[in-house]
Amino acid sequence: MFGLDSKDSKLLLIVAVLALAAPFILNPFPAGSELAQFNAGYPDLMQRFVIFGIFAIGFNILFGLTGYLSFGHAAFLGVGSYSAVWMFKLLSMNVIPAIILSVIVAGLFSLLIGYVSLRRSGIYFSILTLAFAQMSFNLAYSVLTPITNGETGLQLTLDDPRVLGQTATADGSIPVTNLFGLEMRSTYELVLGAWNFQFNAGYYLSAVIMLASFYMAIRIFRSPFGLMLRAVKTNQTRLNYTGMNSRPYTLAAFVVSGMYAGLAGGLMASMDPLAGAERMQWTASGEVVLMTILGGAGTLLGPVLGAGFIKYFENIFSKINDNVLHGWFAFLPDGMEDLLVTIVHPFVGKGWHLTLGLLFMMVVIFLPGGLIEGGQRLGKLLRRKSAKQDDEDANKSASTAAE
């Protein structure tokens, strides 16, 4: 399918089905039920899943393949968001030109930062990228205020020109982002009994773009270019003595991953047209590192999985407060109930970082290949068990046959 072998086609197909059916899959619990707070099928959360998925897929092309750990990729995301918002202010509210500009600007920006940072490798490379990103963040707050609108963040106003669109709608409000007229915020709700499924235009646009990004990543992984990037990671000396210049390869990987970040930033602004400097902060850069490592660096599916995991934790675990806990443990005697709530309390609500941190440590220590490795081990275990079962069955039938 699309020039992929059958295994990769299957992978792409699975991701496509999961992404397109997400409004169902992420909403398994009926509204109003005790477990409904675990539902994640809301437009803005689903958008975040796939947009951060794109960010992580791109980051993995650099980090997963070449081993160069950038701590500054949020800068490209931020640049992408600013570019998109400027496009909404100056040109029109159509998301396509905005997204295209985000990718181009982020690509140019990453070419510059990559060119300088890649003069070093290892920890020095990481520090250089971090320094560049922090510099961008601080500049966005201060000197670049005319472009970034400083602390307030860049927003749409009623007197933006929008030369190809309209400055304001007929009723005097700011127009909304759209794809050739299809509003990104428009949502179709399907009510089935106690379930309420939401199909949002913005989410589906993001999901389709995520699938295209994922497909591109597969192609890159399987290409000679991808092979060279993996060669850079395993032995740069040998690569150079084999007649390859590793620098342009790493720079190309850096720019490609920067463009992915810009795409994610542009999409973010397309869903909600504002951009702030905090998007470039080092914590945001660190987050994509965590996503990639948690899911499994260097694997195709890992980064998407990691992005989903972290965003789910951030948005769902953080909402579990003591009232909810009391609700869960209400069936227990009062003393027990209070005790359990006290024990669980630090791990949920505002303490979701603790849970995530512990989970991350466990993964790094026990599953260096990330959640993907966990899945693979589980798969192997099950297969071995079923093989054993088969053997036993075969033995049994053999012995009955002998009787």
Binding site: P224, R230, N235, T242, N245, Y249
Partner: protein
Amino acid sequence: MGILEVKGVGKNFGGLKALSDVNLSVQENTVHAIIGPNGAGKSTLLNCLVGKLIPDTGSVMFNNQSVLGRKPHEINQMGISRVFQTPEIFGDLTVLENVLIPCFAKRDGAFRLHAFEGVRREKELMDKAMQMLEDVNMADKRHMHSASMSRGDKRRLEMAMCLVQEPKLLLLDEPTAGMARADTNNTIDLLKEIKEKRDITMAIIEHDMHVVFSLAERITVLAQGTPLVEDTPENIKGHPKVREAYLGEAH
């Protein structure tokens, strides 16, 4: 004029004179061995030929072109491949992938953004890599994780990676070090076979006299950073200076 002409090369590490006034001429299509005791400067000399080190003095000409100041990948593109003293392979990749990479380097040069082509569909290069693996008897190991192989196999793989590029000059730094006798003999046979099949020049650093005398047509003896003698294997065997310097016999 030889294919490789080293003239007056000197290299100091701090106060240590690793090489001084080295002259060496390797003739095309010969096997030229460089022998000498540990610390004689053999690896240093090799490093000066491939762009890893830049000599302090002297010149290195390959095919009438200077290699000095060029980067390792540029020197490789000129037609020089190198086997390291400790095998340098792509440990995380499979054996087949290890051999494919030099095939791409040979065809595409130092860089090409072939991000959509698909490695598996490069039929010609795949066949070439497979043929090379068959030549070195490693075809059955093609899907193996290369880091998990024995040291002898890693060396053989590294040699295959160099040979598949059909270099004009192959530099080998102690290719049989750490190999069992049987593996050493296999390597000798392999190198002899390569020599017969292709037009190739080899410069080989070796400790094992058995290997040297089975392969070399010319031998240069290096001691304390300077060439002592250069001659045919027969003459070297009986040379008193060599026995003194290299075999450590005082009289």
